[in-house]
């Protein structure tokens, strides 16, 4: 993750944030377990098959879905295909550079993809046009346009919202258009460790101070579908259990508030 524009946080700011955190307070007044404000606008790019503009605090991403017919993978002839791609656009942060995906954007895309895939959100079996020959390919592309921390959760929210509202263009293949069949709503929750504290939905400053990151993606049944530990620090097993519990709780809240 990038540092701020100077490359580092000032020592004074760092100490201040750490001191407040020990008292259970965060720079913007949030509790350690709470998310920043979430705003989701679906059908943001109306000519795509599905889309969503998501603000998570000051982090902003746009997800767009394209659905085209094509060949299935040889080893899954009876399934549609889902691919997830994240672009860290250079407009989003001073040090982001144009070019092919780097290890940062690849990790984000793969963790987001894993959450969707393992929760079996999309019924890929229902996306077959002609077995072994022609299936629907679902392209989920995410543009990061403004960066203030916690991209994994912002991107997951955006893709899930976009997929949930997506329409398969069945009419182009002689059938009818139909809503993309969605079976579950994976929500990812990311926490970072600052000093010995865990905080959810870190902003950029908090990411810069943190030593370790953990993402837990759950479904409504409160089962874990994907996890990813990041960064060069460590977690104890208890910390991970706490993160799982919290992910489950926050996932429920987000599902209730934003996906009813």
């Amino acid at each position: 993750m990038p540092k701020d524009e100077a490359g580092v946080l000032s020592e004074i700011k760092r100490n201040y944030i750490l001191k407040k955190l020990k008292e259970g307070k965060r720079g913007d007044g949030r509790s350690p377990e709470s998310f920043r404000e979430i705003s989701i606008t679906t059908n943001y790019v109306p000519r795509s098959a599905g889309s969503a503009y998501v603000k998570l605090g000051r982090t902003k991403v746009v997800a767009g879905i394209k659905i085209e017919s094509g060949e299935p993978f040889p080893d899954t002839p009876n399934q549609g295909v889902l691919t997830t791609n994240v672009e860290l656009l250079p407009m989003a942060f001073p040090t982001f550079e144009a070019g092919p995906p780097n290890e940062g954007s690849i990790e984000i895309a793969r963790v987001v993809d894993r959450g969707i895939r393992e929760s079996k959100m999309i019924d890929l079996e229902s996306l077959v046009i002609e077995p072994a020959k022609k299936v629907w390919i679902v392209f989920a592309d995410i543009d990061v346009i403004d960066f203030d921390g916690n991209l994994i959760d912002a991107c997951t929210l955006a893709v899930v919202s976009a997929l949930k509202s997506a329409v398969v263009p069945g009419s182009t293949e002689g059938g009818k258009d139909f809503a993309l069949p969605v079976r579950s709503l994976p929500i990812s929750v990311t926490m970072v460790k600052i000093g010995d504290e865990l905080v959810a939905d870190p902003d950029l400053e908090e990411e810069q101070l943190s030593t370790a990151r953990i993402t837990v993606t759950t479904t409504a049944d409160e089962h874990i579908r994907a996890m990813q530990k990041g960064d060069t620090g460590y977690f104890t097993l208890d910390e991970i259990r706490k993160a799982i519990k919290l992910s489950s709780d926050i996932g429920r809240q987000i599902r209730e508030k934003h996906f009813k």
């Binding site: 000519r47 902003k60 989003a92 942060f93």
Partner: protein
């Protein structure tokens, strides 16, 4: 330009396929300061185009050998989102976007007071979220606003506008079907106050008289677009459209 087709693009009343008169622009809205990180930003909706522009700079040009000791380098990067067009676009620059980036960079350079910032670079990132016809002139129009919003000194605003030939008639600001099935497209970039031309491309088939008609339409529309740019900079519609879905 377009393929021949049976589609009638102008009806018996002289109205176009989307109901516009020949001299009418598509609906056009611009907002500024839509992003937090960028030094300046703008969001433009022009017809079905939805384009976001962010400006960073002036900052030291990098790598060093790209520095100009006499002036700032203005570097626009025009990019289409994977989901911006009918068929999913593979990420990364293709030949078309490389060319558009080049002509937009050159057009903006003519407007920015580049001589005030030797060795610097000014980055203009243009992201097409939804593409209708005319993305380059919409991107150019928004870029100029984003540069001004970033506080970068400019000698004039750049207005992007196009005219073209449809069913043998010269009309302003081609829509998508007109672009696909028309006979000529003439996108231009004009310095708003001086009328100087800083971007011009053309493809299709125009007689010299038709060229004169087309530029007359464009020059006239320039004023209207410039007014919208100035209103955007006055902050009237700040960050509303970006938050809003739909077309």
């Amino acid at each position: 330009m377009g393929t021949a087709s049976d589609i009638k693009l102008i009806d018996e009343n002289g109205l176009r396929i989307d109901g516009r008169s020949p001299t009418e622009l598509r609906p056009l809205k611009i907002e500024t300061d839509v992003l937090e990180r960028a030094d300046g930003s703008a969001f433009i909706e022009w017809g079905g185009n939805k384009i976001l522009v962010a400006v960073y700079g002036p900052r030291e040009a990098y790598p060093k050998h790209t520095q100009d000791i006499e002036k700032a380098v203005v570097k626009a990067r025009y990019n289409m989102s994977a989901f911006s067009v009918d068929e999913r676009k593979r990420p990364g620059p293709d030949r078309r976007s490389v060319e558009i980036s080049k002509v937009i960079s050159e057009a903006l350079s003519a407007a920015v007071m580049v001589e005030q910032f030797p060795r610097a670079q000014i980055d203009v990132f243009i992201e097409v979220l939804q593409a209708d016809a005319g993305t380059r002139i919409a991107g150019l129009t928004a870029s100029s606003v984003a540069l001004a919003a970033a506080g970068i000194p400019m000698r004039d605003m750049v207005v992007g506008c196009a005219a073209g030939k449809v069913d043998g008639k010269i009309v302003l600001d081609l829509g998508k079907e007109e672009d696909n099935f028309g006979q000529a497209d003439l996108p231009m970039g004009i310095l708003a106050k001086s009328g100087k031309i800083v971007l011009m491309q053309m493809d299709g088939d125009l007689s010299q008289e038709e060229f004169d008609q087309a530029t007359a339409l464009i020059m006239d529309a320039t004023k209207r677009i410039y007014d919208i740019q100035r209103e955007a900079l006055a902050g009237k519609y700040r960050a509303l459209a970006l938050e809003r879905g739909g077309e």
